[in-house]
């Protein structure tokens, strides 16, 4: 598990999501990365049930249950600013049992699927973010395997990102921000994905029509 940066690639002008993804992947292949299968990251949202809320009517918390094909036997559960739990896949079954306390928000399942490229020590995943049937955006994840401390390798990551993202290079993710010299873990990656999904959810649907 190395330091990972998850960012969003804005859809190119005049192109569809798929075409932008095409562009990116071609760039990567030219760079010399080799394709190594596919990946998938998905996320479901749960509300805390109304019955458990106090009389003050405090708003329920949102819980996100995510899976990552990179860690096939694990399940991640996280709150917005709260802790992230890494469990095994029995957690999904548990959530079914906890129906009384956590209600799934319908139509909020969001996922990203795409191809996985290996370029020496870098692992690049370019995926299409879909919510239901519609594609909403593009996610780009870059992992630098050898390093586990974020502050040490951020500059290297940035340079690499610049090489194929060009001007769309993101800034340092929020998870890096405060904690220096803390070992980076899979939970941080999932937090980044969660933030990305939330951002995409808030965005308007990508206007397909009108750009011809």
């Amino acid at each position: 598990m190395g330091v990972t940066c998850v960012s969003q690639m804005p859809v190119a002008e005049g192109k569809s999501v798929q075409q932008t993804v095409e562009l990116l992947t071609r760039k990567l292949e030219v760079l010399g990365a080799e394709k190594q299968g596919t990946f998938c990251v998905d996320c479901e949202t749960y509300h805390t049930a109304a019955s458990t809320l106090g009389s003050q009517g405090q708003t329920g918390k949102l819980m996100y249950v995510m899976h990552n094909s990179e860690y096939p036997l694990s399940c991640f559960a996280l709150f917005e600013n709260g802790p992230c739990l890494i469990a095994d896949t029995n957690f999904d079954v548990l959530m079914v049992k906890l129906k009384g306390f956590f209600q799934s928000a319908k139509a909020s399942k969001i996922e990203t699927r795409g191809t996985r490229y290996q370029y020496c020590d870098f692992l690049v995943k370019v995926g299409t973010v879909t919510m239901g049937p519609s594609a909403r955006g593009i996610s780009v994840e870059v992992e630098y395997g050898p390093c586990v401390v974020a502050s040490d390798c951020w500059s290297l990551l940035l340079e690499f990102l610049q090489s194929f993202l060009g001007s769309h290079t993101p800034g340092a993710p929020a998870v890096f921000g405060n904690r220096h010299d803390v070992v980076y873990g899979p939970a941080d990656t999932m937090v980044q994905y969660m933030e990305l999904f939330n951002k995409i959810r808030k965005q308007q649907q990508v206007p397909v029509a009108g750009i011809r």
Binding site: Y71, L73, S74, I86, D88, T89, P186, A187
Partner: protein, 774 residues
């Protein structure tokens, strides 16, 4: 209650003619009523004397009859001696007709055994440490107690009276000679003797009259004496008459004639014979008994031998009783095997023993019967052959009768039999597992499974055959034993490894799966359970799961063994073929099943310290050889034999040039140029040529060496201009100093040079070209 023994008499003062005795014979108290004057006292008096701890205070219990006593107790003191260790607490319960009742608790003073009752009519409960005195009876017996309390004593018997009384008891008719006569009367007397002092009166009391009271005590004595006298007189008369022989004679009684005294030896002989016969009789009886017991013992021993053999068998093998049969289990099921063979053997008693004949040395009362398909011996033959045989040769049952493994001396034959059967079972299991994997697992080149052979191809032109060789003991297969099968290509190591692998597989199926914590977690390897919560990625998960089967593992091992042996052969062939430079191989002792390493040194003889720049570490893996050079280069060679050979040859040629470089340093020559891979000259087919140019210390001469693996070495020497004859004169060079420069090259006939190897020759050349400094 009575627990004491006293030797004295005690009598309480009673208003009445009561007295109590302490009977020393049985330690009890006897109460006898003496006087009949007081019939109104119906109770018997019993003075209880019981042993207690002497603690003052209330008595534990008392069960005495009421004792009538009154104030006269004060006047009466009786002492009696008790034995020292005796502790007693006499308790008197008195019931005074005047008062309601009282309890006299005499207390005991542990003081020289003197006990005295406390006579205190007023106080009811005992006072501590009060002196109790009891006086024993006086010598005179009380005959009568008067109404005013005076006692009339019986006059004691005088000596003569006593003697008379005692003499009356003697029964003179009961002498020592006539034991048969027992006067009933005298008997009672004789036994009454210990109870002296009271029997005379007692007899009166009892009313049993033993004999007539006589007027004169000596009457009976007189009568007896008289009768004796009478008889004596009679005897005297008779004897005197007989002496006269007139009226009476004495005739001897006729007796049997004694045997003649002149054969004492016969008598002795007869008596000896009789006694010997008697002794012999006893001995014969004893011998008969002994033989019977010995035969019984022997039979028992056989029976016991079976049991003890069975015990020994149980120590090694699992046995169970089914009905009346004893079955055993020789399979590996309890060790984790999943092979479906039952593996049961039967234990039978060996009863075909003829007791008359001598028991054979290796006789065993126990025999085991193994299943018929496990008979004989088996082993797995693993061999690597160079060329693939014809298809028709496949499936031939190659029975190579390997000698049975030597059983430990002293182990019974059933042990060897069972162990051999178990080995056969294990070999069958190994082969079944291998063939199952050969069929199921896909590989690039499919494995062939024919009958008892599995053939796979680890490398091209190489064939690995694993076969199950099972030779049974019957006659038919003995013929095949003579078939020539070379055992050299059988790899014992791989067979041993197969056994190890299957045992490891057994262990995995058995246990070593710890119960998961928490109990709700899924079963499986502990690290696999953690892979979820610890977010293992695919690489880590793959490393946890070992997905290789037995066949794959053994093929990998076979490949490695083959590669290693071929590498060794290559190095050895090179070493024997090429003398200069020398190649040395140091094999590492510690190897893996999949990896071995060897260090290869290329040196010149005599110059090992100077020219040691070529040192290679070869790591031989399963399919590749990785070479690490001393200068840090890492080269990966394939399994091809030629690659390694070419590489080593190129290294050898490089070594020569390196050697020149080192030598130049030592000799003081200057290296002008050096190149490992020279781009000039003819192209080598193996590797590259290397070249070096060195100049002499004073600069006059220069040596240029070009060495290639194929083209060999070429040495040229550059001479100063003034030594070359055939140089064209030129107008440009006016000064003579220019003639000191080095000029044209001349080749050296290297094979005509003296010296046993290249570096030696080079040293000679260098020293020849260096001027002598003398």
């Amino acid at each position: 209650m009575p627990v004491i023994q006293t030797e004295s008499e005690y009598k309480p003062p009673v208003n009445g003619s009561y007295f109590a005795h302490v009977n020393s014979a049985d330690g009890g108290c006897l109460l006898e009523k003496y006087s009949e004057k007081r019939h109104d006292f119906e109770c018997a008096l019993l003075a209880n004397l019981f042993a207690s701890e002497g603690q003052p205070g209330k008595p534990a219990e008392f069960s005495s009859c009421p004792l009538n006593s009154d104030e006269d107790v004060n006047k009466w003191l009786h002492f009696y001696e008790m034995k020292a260790p005796l502790v007693c607490l006499p308790v008197f319960v008195s019931r005074d007709p005047v008062t309601t009742g009282g309890l006299f608790v005499p207390l005991f003073l542990p003081r020289a055994g003197v006990l005295s009752p406390l006579a205190d009519a007023a106080s009811m409960s005992g006072v501590r440490a009060v002196r109790i005195s009891i006086e024993s009876a006086c010598e005179k017996q009380v005959q009568e107690v008067g109404l005013d309390g005076t006692e009339t004593y019986l006059q004691p018997l005088s000596m003569s009276q006593n003697l008379a009384r005692l003499a009356q008891r003697i029964d003179f008719s009961q002498g020592s000679g006539s034991e048969e006569e027992e006067a009933a009367g005298a008997e009672g007397d004789a036994q009454d003797w210990p109870g002296a002092g009271s029997s005379a009166d007692q007899d009166d009391e009892e009313g049993l009259v033993k004999f007539q009271p006589s007027l004169w005590p000596w009457d009976s004595v007189r009568n007896n004496l008289r009768s004796a006298l009478t008889e004596m007189c009679v005897l005297y008369d008779v004897l005197s008459i007989v002496r006269d022989k007139k009226f009476m004679t004495l005739d001897p009684v006729s007796q049997d004639a004694l045997p003649p005294k002149q054969n004492p030896q016969t008598l002795q002989l007869m008596s000896k014979k009789k006694s010997l016969a008697g002794a012999a009789q006893i001995l014969l009886k004893g011998a008969e008994r002994l033989t019977k017991s010995v035969t019984e013992n022997q039979e028992n021993k056989l029976q016991r031998d079976f049991n003890s053999e069975l015990l020994r068998l149980r120590q090694h093998w699992k046995l169970r009783k089914v009905g009346d049969k004893i079955l055993g289990d020789l399979s590996y099921r309890s060790a984790g095997s999943l092979f479906p063979h039952h593996g049961t053997f039967e234990v039978i008693k060996n009863t075909d023993l003829d007791l008359d004949k001598k028991i054979p040395e290796d006789y065993c009362p126990l025999d085991v019967q193994i299943p018929s398909d496990l008979e004989g011996s088996a082993y797995i033959k693993v061999s690597i052959q160079k060329q693939s045989p014809d298809i028709g040769d496949l499936g031939t049952v190659n029975l190579f009768k390997r000698s049975l493994p030597k059983s430990k001396p002293g182990s019974p034959h059933w042990q060897t039999k069972l162990e051999a059967a178990q080995n056969v079972l294990l070999c069958k299991e190994i082969f079944a597992q291998l063939s199952r994997e050969a069929v199921q697992i896909k590989s690039q080149i499919p494995h062939i499974v024919v009958k008892n052979q599995i053939i796979s191809q680890p490398f091209p032109n190489l064939q690995l055959s694993i076969s199950l060789c099972h030779s049974s003991n019957d006659k038919k297969s003995q013929k095949f034993a003579t078939e020539k099968q070379s055992p050299e290509d059988h790899l014992y190591v791989l067979e041993h490894n197969l056994h190890l692998l299957i045992r490891e597989f057994h262990k995995q199926t058995l246990s070593s799966i710890m119960m998961p914590h928490p109990a709700s977690a899924p079963f499986g390897h502990k690290r696999m359970r953690l892979s979820g919560p610890q977010a293992f990625d695919k690489n880590e998960i793959n490393s946890l799961q070992s997905s290789e089967g037995l066949l794959e593992k053994i093929i990998k091992q076979a490949k490695h063994i083959f590669l290693r042996s071929r590498t060794a052969a290559t190095i050895d062939s090179l070493a024997s073929r090429i003398e200069d430079p020398q190649i040395q191989a140091h094999w590492s002792n510690i190897n893996d099943v999949y990896e071995s390493s060897v260090k290869v040194l290329i040196t010149s003889q005599g110059y090992e310290q100077i020219c040691k720049s070529i040192q290679l570490q070869l790591n031989i893996g399963v399919e590749q050889i990785r070479v690490v050079h001393r200068d840090g280069r890492v080269i990966t060679l394939s399994y091809q034999e030629q690659e390694l050979q070419d590489f080593l040859l190129s290294q050898m040629s490089q070594h020569q040039v390196h050697a020149v470089q080192q030598l130049a340093k030592v000799m003081g020559w200057q290296v002008l140029s050096f190149s490992n891979h020279v781009g000039l000259g003819p192209i080598e087919s193996i590797g590259n040529a290397s070249a070096i140019t060195v100049a002499s210390p004073n600069g006059d001469y220069a040596i240029s060496v070009r060495n290639g693996p194929e083209s060999g070495s070429k040495i040229m020497v550059q001479f100063p201009r003034n030594q070359c004859k055939d140089l064209p004169k030129s107008d440009v060079l006016q000064d003579t100093k220019w003639s000191h420069l080095r000029g044209p090259f001349k080749e050296v006939h290297w094979n005509k040079m003296e010296g046993r190897n290249f570096v030696y020759k080079m040293e000679l050349l260098m020293s020849a070209l260096s001027p002598c400094l003398l």
